[in-house]
Symmetry: C2
Subunit: 302 residues, 2 copies
Amino acid sequence: MIEARHLRVLRAVATTGSFSAAGRELGCTQPAVSQQMKALEASVGTPLLVRAGREMRLTQAGEALVRHASGILAGLTAAEEEVAAIAGLRAGRVRLVSFPSGSSTLVPTALAALRAAHPGTRVSLEEAEPPRSVELLREGDCDLALAFRYEGAAVAEDWDDLVVRPLLADRLVALVPERHRLARAESVAIGELAQEPWIAGCPRCRGQLVQVCEGAGFTPRIDFATDDYPAVVGLVGAGLGVAVLPQLAVESVRPRGARVVRLEPEVRRQIVALTLPDLAQVPTVAATLEQLARAARGVGRS
Amino acid sequence: MIEARHLRVLRAVATTGSFSAAGRELGCTQPAVSQQMKALEASVGTPLLVRAGREMRLTQAGEALVRHASGILAGLTAAEEEVAAIAGLRAGRVRLVSFPSGSSTLVPTALAALRAAHPGTRVSLEEAEPPRSVELLREGDCDLALAFRYEGAAVAEDWDDLVVRPLLADRLVALVPERHRLARAESVAIGELAQEPWIAGCPRCRGQLVQVCEGAGFTPRIDFATDDYPAVVGLVGAGLGVAVLPQLAVESVRPRGARVVRLEPEVRRQIVALTLPDLAQVPTVAATLEQLARAARGVGRS
DNA sequence: GCCGCCCCCAAGAAGCGCTTATGCTCGATC
DNA sequence: GATCGAGCATAAGCGCTTCTTGGGGGCGGC
């Protein structure tokens, strides 16, 4: 087996014409060069260099090897370059999955910052929510998943084998029509909305809503359900019912005809980034994760 | 510095999908594979493989490396192939230099045998005699030189740094016109030809002739000098003088009108092959040398 | 004739790579 | 739900490789 290191040395010897000069060029001693050349000759089974007086000449086999060396070493260098570009965030792609419309502020901010910091990187964005997003992660179809979990949820997801990075604690707020009796209230307890018609969000949020309401002693009467947050806001604004939404979801929607009222006691969902332990070491993934965390801090502060 | 060995292992891991299988394919243990992959990841500074549950997936950097690997490894294999062909005498060239017309039997026999044994090898043949041929050797313009030296010559060549392989001891014979008084003699002493007109060979042979004659107490009267042996024979055959020639040179010429008489005391020249110590290790050179020696044994036997 | 350059050789020390042995995780099976 | 098999990680031990240092010899230039 010819080693690339040997080819590098052979080429240096061929160009400089001496072992000593090659050693200087490669940053090692002359005996090291001499030994490597001996090893290479032994491994190919034929002399490669002829010591004729002072000068060092290549044999035909040596010439053949040097001829191939440039291509091989160029290939190695190209490979190193490409990998270094990925490692150095000058290239590389991240496949990001986020829950639908949940990341309307976080993701754009993070991706904008990522692009500004590392213009060579590319991000693909898809929408899915757990458990689908976790499945995508585990099957290798994405690198990073944005998800959320409700604090104190009934069934905890099995994320034990994943890297779970909390990004943001997002509190729930009540949304009531602006003519509603509680529209001007400082805050509202969920029980006070027991008799209202409800407009629910996505299936998972709906489950959480039911759980919270049952904790307060009633079962909500759900008239509408949609996972489209602007639609929920619109329905509330039209006076068709009340809703409970994550604050982050409300923030990106203009609440026409609806009012946001703080919910007491506080119910929060935690927005997290999920990835595989190994993927967390991949530079592009780590950088994206970092920008998501930074974006989350920005949202939390505002 | 990426090592080719690592690429080979990475490729095996990528194709087999597991470290254990790669180890089996490569004939080493699983920890060896594991360690090499760790070393490779460390050397490029980014993960290359993602351990997701049971299966082993490539990261983007890993894919890039595998993509380059095939080309690099193919280059290495091609280089090994080419060198192995030279080492295995399936290819390769020898640049042979021989003294003019001195090798009319030796060289053709040897080269024919070489070609028969190793059809892929190529031999280039040039004519020169020492010191020119030695110069060509030292300057790297030829690989193997056929030369000769007279035993007991006045000036010994400085062949100390060369490989000198004696091939043949070639005795000198006298050539006299067939009507000459000595034409039927069993043998002739050089002194008996003191009064004859001489036909001399090449410059070096002429020098040797003069030296031998002076050793016998006379200076030959040289009427003609040519390094063309058939011409010498022709001149003698035409009765224009006598000559002393190497037996080998006479053998390849039909002695029309001339007779060969053994010379006493015996004067011999030694035909040798010369090469550089390092070049003697080159398979093609060694093989050619061997065939020359074998051809010489054949000539000596006949 | 001396000096400098360059190569080879030998010995010692450091580093590297492989193997064996062991523990752990995961997935399939009963 | 427990067991079993497969596969990876880790650690220890060993041998090999490879480097450096130091010394010797040869060749060319001043």
